[in-house]
């Protein structure tokens, strides 16, 4: 597990070592959603897009 901080509430989040780019991580405290983004082998989080009117199947 890689430990990163929630950008919203600063809670420590555990991201699996095998998480792939684009995988969603949700903060259990504040509910913020993040996408995993690896950079130079390091796991980073970036805010995920919120649900759009045209989302779906």
């Amino acid at each position: 597990m890689v430990k990163v901080r929630c950008l919203e509430c600063d809670r420590e989040l555990n991201v699996p070592d095998d998480a792939v780019d684009g995988e969603i991580v949700t903060c259990p405290d504040c509910g913020a959603n993040y996408e995993v983004a690896r950079s130079n082998g390091k796991i980073m989080l970036k805010p995920a897009e919120s649900i759009g009117e045209d989302w779906g199947e």
């Binding site: 780019d21 684009g22 995920a48 045209d54 989302w55 199947e57």
Partner: protein, 318 residues
């Protein structure tokens, strides 16, 4: 580099790209099955892609020699080729639609095709296509002003179903109970800035069991079907709304209905939604272009992701 690349080693270097913008179970499953089948496969984040008219006349080395070879590319920060075939899996309809247009301009086979995505992503166009091809569908009415929408609803009587023409997961689909409710919905939509809010799609309320059928068509076959039961206290059967899936036998009638519906929208990999009307039999009410299949996969004996990957490879070889 925001791109996950993996390499299979059995199938002669064929590369498959799975384009996504929200990574779901389905996209990871498609990647896994593509690799197990021995293809080079990668997940490509749609949000990182950039296309250019220059790409249409240049190869991936930037040489302006006309794009007639298979070595085509998008112009993205990594300059990575999108390979031999793309499975379009964007959760955003418009993002997926327009990326598909770009991919097709580059000559990259994309599943599903732009014309299919356009029809399936718009309930009005989809209903017209189904009706035109003689596929049984609920009686559906289209109005282009608040006055006519209310007039139609009052004339048909209640309940009646209102649906936005773009959207999914049953979002903003409303069983309208009476005139007062209809007028409130219309008033609300007239205040919305999106011009599509003022296109009114009204459908007969189908008397059906508390379930519908989701069948998955891949190419010329119905590979699996499930019943979707609405969650407790819920009218909509979408798995995304807590609906439960159970296996559904594929009768000859169901198979014929699904294949005709698939043909009506242009074919490919499709999720056909069907209601069992007490009087009229099977009615197709929706065809989905970027089918979510986690619910179906949980109860189906068919490997849905593998079927989709195998179909993609048939498209490359066709």
């Amino acid at each position: 580099m925001n791109m996950n690349m993996s390499r299979g080693n059995l199938n002669n270097g064929t590369t498959i790209s799975i384009v996504f913008d929200r990574l779901r179970w389905e996209e990871k499953e498609l990647l896994d099955k593509a690799l197990k089948l021995g293809y080079n496969a990668r997940l490509v984040d749609a949000k990182d892609l950039v296309f250019s008219t220059d790409a249409i006349i240049k190869d991936s080395n930037g040489n302006g020699n006309g794009n007639t070879s298979s070595n085509k590319t998008s112009i993205n920060p990594d300059g990575v080729s999108l390979g031999d075939v793309v499975i379009q899996r964007c959760i955003s309809h418009y993002r997926g639609l327009y990326i598909t247009a770009c991919l097709e301009s580059l000559g990259i086979p994309t599943i599903n095709r732009y014309s299919v995505a356009e029809v399936c992503g718009n309930k009005l166009l989809c209903s017209l296509a189904l009706a035109k091809h003689g596929v049984s569908t609920p009686s559906t009415y289209f109005a282009f002003s608040a006055e006519k929408a209310i007039e139609i609803a009052n004339g048909l009587g209640y309940p009646i179903v209102f649906k936005p023409i773009v959207g999914s997961w049953g979002r903003l689909v409303i069983p309208v109970k009476d005139r007062e409710m209809m007028e409130s919905i219309v008033e609300m939509r007239e205040e919305m800035p999106n011009p599509l809010s003022k296109i009114y799609y009204l459908q007969e309320y189908v008397r059906r069991p508390p379930r519908d059928i989701r069948a998955i068509v891949v190419g010329d076959r119905v590979i699996t079907a499930v019943y979707r039961y609405a969650a407790e206290g819920e009218w909509k059967t979408n798995i995304a709304r807590g609906g439960k899936a159970e296996p559904c036998p594929i009768s000859k009638e169901l198979e014929d209905t699904c294949l005709r519906a698939a043909e009506a929208v242009g074919g490919g990999v499709l999720g056909i939604d069907i209601m069992e009307d007490e009087a009229k039999g099977l009615l197709v009410h929706e065809v989905n272009n970027t089918v979510e299949f986690r619910g179906a996969a949980s109860v189906s004996s068919v490997d849905i992701a593998q079927e989709i990957v195998s179909y993609a490879m048939k498209v490359v070889r066709a």
